[in-house]
């Protein structure tokens, strides 16, 4: 019997500090046993439990894309016990990983469609995975127009800055980067909150256009009416939820919303699905 609680051992290969407040770091992990990497076959939108011996586990969205081989990437906000321990670790240290867990963004449905990605703050991790996945030369023909609206408090709080710049200069993806405010005279992108930029820049909703939205509750709350106004139907609005988790496999009973376990039946739900579920998240 395969033990779903037993993590695969991984080595921290590289740690990158992402933001000016140093609260977000990206970890590149490499499997100690190459066979484990084959077993860990994932899709953009899934997450994993990172496991620190002696401290515990945390569910973290997979920030690397399935098209990037040889390593996994996670971007971690320093919050409490386990994430703080991770922030104090160094390359070479051994941790564990369980997964991939949860469903993913609905890639079967998204095939042949326009995709609008809306992200705010550090919830951009699985969105990065999705963008890298879609931009892969083998996959790009499977999608029509790709729009990305991504906002952070200030330029220094944006994740993956080099990649953002590279995507800006491409013509097969429409980037709309924004910050709440900045005194940087060099800043050449948008200034304003995500809902406002969405209103100005997002393509109109139709049967062929899907929005994936991840961010702090306040951003989601104000972006949703904008999407309604733009004509997005609730089946075409896709969200990824967060709940406190332990097992990550629908067994410990912790992360339910109604009868759905966010760890196993989610974390990705359409707004139409969420409308049928208790508002308890």
């Amino acid at each position: 019997m395969q033990n779903p609680y037993l993590p695969y051992p991984v080595r921290i290969e590289e740690i990158i500090t992402e933001t000016e407040d140093k609260n977000l770091k990206t970890f590149k992990l490499v499997f100690l046993n190459p066979d484990d990497e084959k077993k860990f076959s994932y899709k953009a939108g899934q997450f994993a439990e990172l496991s620190v011996a002696g401290k515990g586990e945390v569910p973290i969205g997979i920030a690397s894309s399935p098209t990037e081989k040889g390593y996994l990437m996670f971007t971690i906000n320093k919050v409490g016990l386990v994430t703080t321990t991770l922030h104090c670790m160094k390359p070479g240290d051994i941790i564990g990983i369980r997964g991939p867990l949860g469903n993913s963004y609905p890639w079967d449905i998204l095939k042949g469609k326009n995709v609008l990605i809306i992200g705010g703050g550090f919830a951009f991790t699985t969105l990065r995975s999705s963008i890298v996945y879609m931009l892969d030369p083998a996959n790009r023909p499977n999608f029509k127009n790709i729009h990305v609206i991504y906002g952070a408090r200030s330029p220094g709080m944006l994740l993956y800055k080099d990649e953002l710049t590279a995507w800006e200069s491409r013509d097969d993806i429409n980037m709309h980067i924004t910050v709440d405010g900045t005194d940087d005279p060099e800043w050449k992108y948008n200034i304003g909150f995500v809902p406002t930029v969405t209103e100005q820049k997002a393509p109109p909703g139709n049967a062929d256009t899907y929005a994936i939205i991840c961010g702090p509750p306040i951003m989601i709350k104000f972006t949703q009416p904008v999407l309604d106004k733009l004509g997005y139907c609730h089946d075409n609005i896709i969200m990824s939820l967060e709940m406190r988790m332990k097992c990550g496999i629908g067994i410990c009973g912790r992360c339910n919303i109604g009868k759905e376990f966010v760890c196993k039946d989610g974390p990705v739900f359409t707004l139409a699905q969420l409308n049928m579920m208790p508002k308890e998240y």
Binding site: M1, Q2, N3, P4, Y5, L6, P7, P9, L32, S51, A53, G54, K55, G56, E57, V79, G80, T83, D93, I94, I95, G96, P217, E242, M243, R244, K246, C247, I249, G250, I251, C252, G253, R254, C255, N256, I257, G258, K259, K264, M276, M277, P278, E280, Y281
Partner: protein
């Protein structure tokens, strides 16, 4: 179905014989209350009990259980790598378990043994166990098993059903595991032809003694969000102090927490029973808590048992009607009342 007659004078001998091939668990008296524990050599189960205060779920699913272990000393080769531990999954038998409590394991099995993930700890313990039930001749006023999908002589979930006739037991064989158990004990006297009929009569008598019931027929068709938003929750939850006693004693509550514990350089990862009644259960690291109030946690417990579970598995409620939560609640919260409110509610 074959029925064996066990004379009580052969009871103790048979049990001692069984201890050679099984770890035996049974009800014993501990400070005036009955608990299930592993029987020592020469120790007999006390089958004169009504039911244990705590459910026997811990025999399969201990309150604290080690899952994995690891070494933190960096000079050791496999340091920081989590490993499986050796656990004793040798055959065991629970003697004198009430039919409702055995049926509870079947409800819980759906959670631990799923098509996608198998919980090896729960499944291995469950599979190693023979369930020797003791039919309930004298149910209590708080029992409502017959309307909660089980009953005082309920057989599903058991391998063997014992019926206490006074000087002897009838042992009704339900599964091969049950048959093997009898064989190991050396109990092989077949009961006479009337036994079946006699058990049936006793079953009817016992069922007639159950005076309380719940109605669950309309739960399935209710809209989840209607029930969730129903106005009665504030009032029924008002007295609840979120002590968690109800979930602790319940045979069908299974939620757990996972924690690491380190002693020197060696550590374990363990799981511990947890409860949806505690605020920490859902508290995010950010401070946000989707169930920050008493009422929300109270509602979760009942919605889970009586609606979410019903919808998820389409085979009844997540409660066998043992009545423990009602008997032990310091605030007199009664699941029968809450269930009937839910079943009768229309938005």
């Amino acid at each position: 179905m074959k029925i064996i007659r066990i004379n009580k004078e052969n009871w103790a001998d048979g049990l001692e014989k069984l201890k050679r091939s099984y770890r035996l668990f049974g009800p014993v008296k501990d400070n005036n209350l009955h608990v299930f524990k592993e029987l020592d050599k020469g120790e007999l189960p006390d089958c004169s009990y009504f039911n244990t205060r705590l459910s026997p779920k811990s025999i399969i699913y201990p309150q604290s259980e080690i899952m994995l272990e690891y070494e933190l000393d960096e000079s050791k080769e496999d340091h920081h790598i989590l490993k499986e531990i050796d656990t004793d999954y040798s055959p065991r038998a629970v003697i004198g378990i009430r039919p409702c409590d055995a049926a509870a394991f079947l409800l819980v099995k759906r959670n631990f043994d799923t098509p996608e993930y198998k919980d090896p700890y729960w499944i291995k313990s469950y599979e190693a166990t023979t369930f020797v039930g003791l039919a309930c001749n004298n149910p209590q006023t708080t029992c409502f098993c017959t309307s909660a999908g089980s009953g005082p002589f309920y057989e599903k979930g058991l391998d063997l059903l014992l019926v206490d006739i006074g000087d002897y037991y009838f042992a009704k064989i339900i599964t091969l595991k049950g048959e093997n158990f009898l064989e190991a004990a050396g109990w092989d006297t077949e009961a006479d032809g009337n036994a079946e009929e006699q058990i049936k009569t006793m079953k009817q008598k016992a069922e007639a003694k159950i005076i309380s019931s719940i109605a669950t027929d309309k739960l399935k068709d209710k809209t989840t969000t209607d029930l969730f938003d129903a106005p009665f929750w504030e009032e029924v939850a008002f007295a609840c102090i979120n002590c968690g006693a109800c979930t602790y004693v319940c045979p069908t509550c299974w939620c757990f927490d996972i924690q690491d514990e380190v002693n020197g350089y060696s550590g374990i990862r363990m799981r511990n029973w947890d409860s949806c009644m505690f605020p920490l259960f859902t508290l995010h690291g950010s401070g946000h808590n989707p169930r920050s109030t008493n009422m929300q946690r109270f509602r979760q417990r009942f919605m889970h048992k009586l609606k979410y579970y019903v919808d998820k598995y389409n085979d009844g409620i997540q409660c066998v009607g043992c009545g423990r939560c009602t008997r032990l609640c310091p605030a007199n919260i009664d699941i029968r009342k809450v269930c009937n409110l839910m079943n009768g509610y229309s938005a």
